[in-house]
Symmetry: C2
């Protein structure tokens, strides 16, 4: 691709799309709002899945799989739920196409008795099963997660951030008591926050959503919120305390320890391919993608440099030895020995694609027993000895991971400001963006007014130091414009 | 569940469904033809995915993800393809539900300009991308795999074997030459055969399909075929040499090394959750599921046995030590120390669920430094010393894996018969079932006649010893009744 990446300060939105395209992460498909996740993007998602899946299993969850189709009558069982999702559903009405003349049509003879909806989320189909699986407190808790695709018919889409189809995980748990369900809701919020901070190197604020931003069918929605480089917030994950709402909607009752029938308590929670968008907008720069080493499919690329055939042999041998020793040290390493591309082209390619470390090795390096090591995050270079290179690389990958988090945290702290009046709020929002701590009177009206006038919304009501969220009459909450 | 598993000789179909249900692998959902894969079944699928995914990556393939929706006009581009799939498609016609009175309806105002089909397979949407990605021979080959859900509106469904929605992987590769595409098609057939034999312990026959059984849009379809315990065959996987059919349908051309424009050559290939059905019907027995150790989510379960509190402490301590040493040896082990269930109940539960090895340990075992070790496959028991238990278990798991394959192979050999006349063919088929090697005259008419009269079809034309399939005028091919 000859065209360059648009600089961030010129057009942040275009810069984002350019990075996604140049790094070959994803692209638009011919199907409205649906994206194609290219191998580079999917490999990132696989690493994210592996890390999250391990954390879910370590906290006692199992994976399962429920149908992609939901009978429309199921959606209707929970009033808030159908209200929230009916307007953005892919509706399956027929089971056959028919060739009529030169045209394909949905065969009228195959019209379904009941419309099916492609799942926008799976609470309803899963709680229908739970109502059959659960009889007694002995059957509880049920701790199930599902990796799947979901569809929400979005009007305005943007690669990774908001697409009609996206990939995600959705946890759905069932419990015997309200406390246990709430504990689960908060435990997963911690899992999400840990994942974002330790793997994606994105600092997040944990808190609770206001009623207007609550999941359709939840009693309480918790979230983690991150701040992007352009001063806009991004909701990175949510966990929902469902109370007995879905237990009641699906008549899911159990015999409790006192031998009384009670409705089952529930939670649900999810993160999606949106996190890839969050990663890009937290760390990347005008040269392209920057990936945290823990998730980078390739952590180190080795680029051999030579002209003569004689040098070729020596350089490739040395490069191969480095590759082996790095692999043995547990590093995800790739030796790019293609002759169809020149070293300069490769340097540029791996910079755009965000590979954390680049090792360049030429004849003089072989002679001196050293290599050139380049960091993607700081775009710095140093010459280091081959002796001890593996240990140096392992240490450097950790340093990069930590450094990326620290810089993102510093950015967020610089861009989180407290204000004491609505005038000040508007000034700061306009001039600086970022998170603004400002009081909220607890009403939908204030949110609606601020949103209409400024575009900002309450991102979350933060947890106080006691571990509960602030519930004073006028708590100070985090406001921001958001993705 | 108090009800028992139906014996195989009484009703094989019911036995199969009973095993699936008792082992908690899957169940029917309220959505016609769609199944719910329960945690036990999904954990098996995850292990199958991990093994296959490793084999795909080792042969140079990358994963990616394409949209679940396919515009109906895409299906229509390849004549045979639309003919094959149009009759079993979930058709999305609207993007919104609307509440009208007490009812939900597909909102007429949201009718789509073009119908979308939930992918029954992804050749069309992927070749549309390839036509944009490929310009030159330098862009080839493209070796992409996708893990996904697909939907084919089946009239008669059976858990795992034939369901409206199923999980699978679909490989889609693009090549510069016919030979290279054919090599890929056969290479993946080998990968599938190796996976079936080494992991699932299912012996398979490799061969080519007759034109009537060919994939809709392929030039040639290759398959692996397995024999189930009831003497019926099961197609376990297929690979398709697509020639230039999709290259032409999607105008996907490339500049070849001679600077001429040429259509791209293609392959596609897939295996699905159907393999779980094949595994069940190859190995399981009247007591329930039998799983090959390499894929069993739990390979060894430890059941502690005690009455007094004093014994409890000693037994649990010894059981815990065994668990640790097995885990260290790389064994997937589970210690079931629940007090809510008795040992006898647990013995039965893990037998039904097919855990390959059970370790039982009581006070007398602790005193004598031994345990009782029970094999699920042979239902045999022996007392073995705790000293050296890990090595013994590792060896035994390998022995079970090999033994299961050997018994399945012996069964297939016993149930593969050659016949020399149609009369004999019918007699053997009726009396014994199994694979029958019998000539095929190469016509669709003979296949249709035999199928109508006996229910048997040509499962495959076997590869000859030269590595090509037999192409004599009247080759002897494998016939069988099939799932």
């Amino acid at each position: 691709m000859a065209d360059a990446i648009t600089p961030r300060d010129k057009d942040y939105s275009q810069w984002y799309l350019d990075v996604v395209r140049h790094a070959k992460l994803a692209e638009h498909s011919p199907v409205r709002g649906c994206m194609i996740i290219r191998p580079n993007g999917y490999a990132l998602w696989e690493n994210m899945q592996a890390a999250l899946d391990g954390m879910f299993k370590a906290t006692g969850h199992e994976n399962a799989y429920f149908p992609i189709f939901i009978p429309q009558s199921f959606l209707a069982r929970e009033a808030a739920h159908v209200e929230g999702f009916a307007k953005e559903c892919a509706v399956v009405t027929h089971s056959r196409l028919k060739i009529e003349g030169d045209e394909l049509i949905a065969d009228p003879a195959s019209k379904l008795e009941e419309n099916l909806v492609v799942r926008p989320t799976s609470e309803t189909i899963i709680w229908d099963s739970y109502s059959r699986w659960i009889q007694s407190w002995r059957d509880l808790p049920i701790l199930i997660n599902q990796w799947s695709n979901v569809v929400r018919w979005e009007m305005r889409t943007r690669l990774f951030l908001r697409t009609t189809e996206f990939l995600w995980q959705e946890g759905h748990t069932a419990h015997a008591t309200s406390d246990e369900a709430m504990d689960e809701t908060l435990k997963i919020l911690d899992v999400y926050a840990t994942f974002c901070e330790d793997y994606l190197a994105i600092p997040v604020i944990k808190g609770v959503k206001t009623p207007t931003e609550r999941f359709a069918g939840a009693v309480e929605t918790f979230c983690i919120e991150a701040l992007m480089q352009d001063g806009k917030a991004l909701q990175a994950g949510t966990t929902h305390f469902l109370g007995q709402n879905f237990g009641k909607a699906f008549n899911c009752q159990f015999q409790n320890r006192d031998n009384e029938l009670e409705y089952v308590w529930g939670t649900s929670w999810g993160v999606s391919t949106r996190l890839i968008g969050a990663m890009i907008m937290t760390h990347s720069d005008d040269q392209g993608l920057v990936m945290p080493p823990k998730l980078a499919p390739t952590q180190v690329v080795i680029v051999p440099i030579y002209r003569s055939d004689e040098d070729r042999v020596r350089v490739l041998e040395a490069a191969g030895a480095i590759e082996s020793s790095l692999r043995e040290a547990g590093v995800r390493v790739k030796l790019d020995a293609r002759e169809s591309q020149r070293p300069g082209w490769k340097f540029n390619e791996y910079e755009v694609q965000g590979v954390p470390l680049r090792v360049a090795i030429g004849p003089r390096d072989v002679a001196s027993g050293s290599v050139e090591l380049a960091r993607r995050d700081l775009r710095s270079k140093e010459v280091v000895p081959v002796e001890g290179l593996s240990a140096a690389v392992v240490g450097l990958l950790e340093e990069i991971q930590t450094g990326m988090f620290d810089r993102a945290l510093a950015f967020r702290e610089e861009n989180t400001r407290e204000v004491n009046s609505y005038e000040e709020f508007k000034e700061v929002l306009e001039a600086k963006g970022g998170f603004i701590k400002f009081e909220w009177d607890g009403t939908d009206e204030m949110e609606a007014k601020v949103k209409a006038e400024t575009g900002a919304t309450v991102r979350c009501i933060p947890f106080s130091s006691t571990g509960k969220w602030e519930t004073g009459d006028n708590p100070r909450v985090f406001w921001a414009r958001a993705y």
